[in-house]
Symmetry: C2
Subunit: 334 residues, 2 copies
Amino acid sequence: MTTSLDIAKAARVSPAVVSRIINQDASLRITAQTRRRVERVIKAMDYAPNTCAQSLRRARTGILALVVHDMTNPVYAEILAGAQDAAASQGKALLLGEAKDLNNGQSRIESLIGGGGADGLILQGAGTALDRALARAARRLMPTVLLQSGHARDTILMRMKDHQAGALACRALLKLGHRRIGFLGVSPSLSFSDDRQKGWHEALTKAGESPTPLMTGIGGNTCAQGADGMKRLFMTQPDLTAVVVANVMAGIGALSYLHDQDIQAGRDFSVIAVHDSNLAAYVRPALSVVRMPLRALGRGAVDAVCGHDFHANTTITIPDAPTVIARASTGPAR
Amino acid sequence: MTTSLDIAKAARVSPAVVSRIINQDASLRITAQTRRRVERVIKAMDYAPNTCAQSLRRARTGILALVVHDMTNPVYAEILAGAQDAAASQGKALLLGEAKDLNNGQSRIESLIGGGGADGLILQGAGTALDRALARAARRLMPTVLLQSGHARDTILMRMKDHQAGALACRALLKLGHRRIGFLGVSPSLSFSDDRQKGWHEALTKAGESPTPLMTGIGGNTCAQGADGMKRLFMTQPDLTAVVVANVMAGIGALSYLHDQDIQAGRDFSVIAVHDSNLAAYVRPALSVVRMPLRALGRGAVDAVCGHDFHANTTITIPDAPTVIARASTGPAR
DNA sequence: TACGTATGGTAAATCGATTTATCAATTGAA
DNA sequence: TTCAATTGATAAATCGATTTACCATACGTA
């Protein structure tokens, strides 16, 4: 590898000059001639500073670690895309990890986080003991943001308006005349799912209904879980005419179950899910949704971690309001 | 941050001992007592070696760079997941980048790649000038793998059996009695899409048909592009009774178009797409597909990059054969 | 006693870039 | 002419871990 010393020798200057030119040190006074000479050598030898040496010296790497719980899920992929987007504009790179690969400090990403290999950590959907251990290890070293759920001292929790999303979804169905409206959550242990459920509960209550636990079920965040959840919910509560599904993938799964039962979504039964995805628009019947600011969430996390004003032990809620997008899977109650 | 010197002082040994204990140097002879003392201090002070210093000294980082062309696409997300999986078992971490964020060496991920911040590079769907520049910058420094398409000296091209996939899809339709079978590619500039088309072409020709360019169209890799492509294909070639779609997302889009035209997929018209996705099984009608070894592709790329036997300037084809999964979107020709 | 050989460690160079303090030479002013 | 200030750079310390070569001391043996 070409080093700054190689450049320095070839350009007949000291490594200090090379470094200061590359880093645009304004206090460096040299003749235009010398500057040109060095710049020409840098280009000719295709020199790029060794980033490890740089990071060691400067004590920052320009890398942010992001750990997610299943990157193949389009919903989380969207958050990831938002984070990547913001990272790129902040001049940072993203180190990506799967929560399931965490291994008590043995995995490479954990060593990197524990050993100053990243400038910040974003942890999505924290919940397990390993998540907690990672957050604990990171928070002393670098700004740490928990996305959507979880809590640990000295970190920021970043969330969306989940309560409002649940309420909006439910109100959209109420407006169509539905009264018996069920709820399919992601998982009861996840606070954001819980908040959506509370929103649903509140909207129903305000409308004069009395929601019961029997009207709720677990739909997960995959099509398979959603189909299964819909089936179970129907068994316990056959009189429902509509349902709020807390995750769009589960919503698509719910639609598939209805289709297989010859129940026509949008006419015989209504489904609305939380999170948009371009998929929701292309399944048939098209799935009505409450769009959430997923990209903004990812972006916000990166900005918070990079920002000079990192305030630990706070909760940040992305201000963008959830918006209802009515498609064919919702229709008037009969 | 705690350094090895801090540990050394607290345990009354030299930093050399600390390092050699942590790295399990077999040639280190010390009393069990000393070893315990050091280990206790390491644990008590929660010491983790600085990874930048480590990487600088050892000239390897334990990081692999992976640059993709749209991580929100479930198909590429699957490759990503395979890569992450293999990386984790190799004890590596993944640095993730979007091709669209490449910026002529200005982005952080490019500096890292150019400056030895990664041990290898995997570039998915290379095609643009920036892709080429990145591959050129990387290949001297580290093992570089191009996934699915692209070419650059001193790199490995890793691909799947795309020709076979196209042929299998087409043959599945032929077996159902279809003769007028169209093809919706991803983009003509992508070699893997082209190979699938060649497979389709060959299968049709062998069956005694004479495929023409008018029977092909562009479907991209999103639902929107697929719906649009299906529409155009119908306009130019209204006598088709079935179509092979080169990408599953585009396939879902095609289904949506058919639905909106009151054409019942599986009965009036058949659709089979390349790539499985759990979505394909949950749209209605369920989409028939040719499943490709996407995870194996991602895994293979990581293994190739990490392997001791990196042979540049070769093409590796993932041996797993594509398999047809017949669902409801394909049916007998009428 | 003298010599070889384990035993239990340590000293110091090194990886490559950054950065502060410093220095020689030149210019300008009094 | 002499002192101060500016110009155009450089020397050397530093970041933190790794690793090679080496060094005391104690032990066993002839």
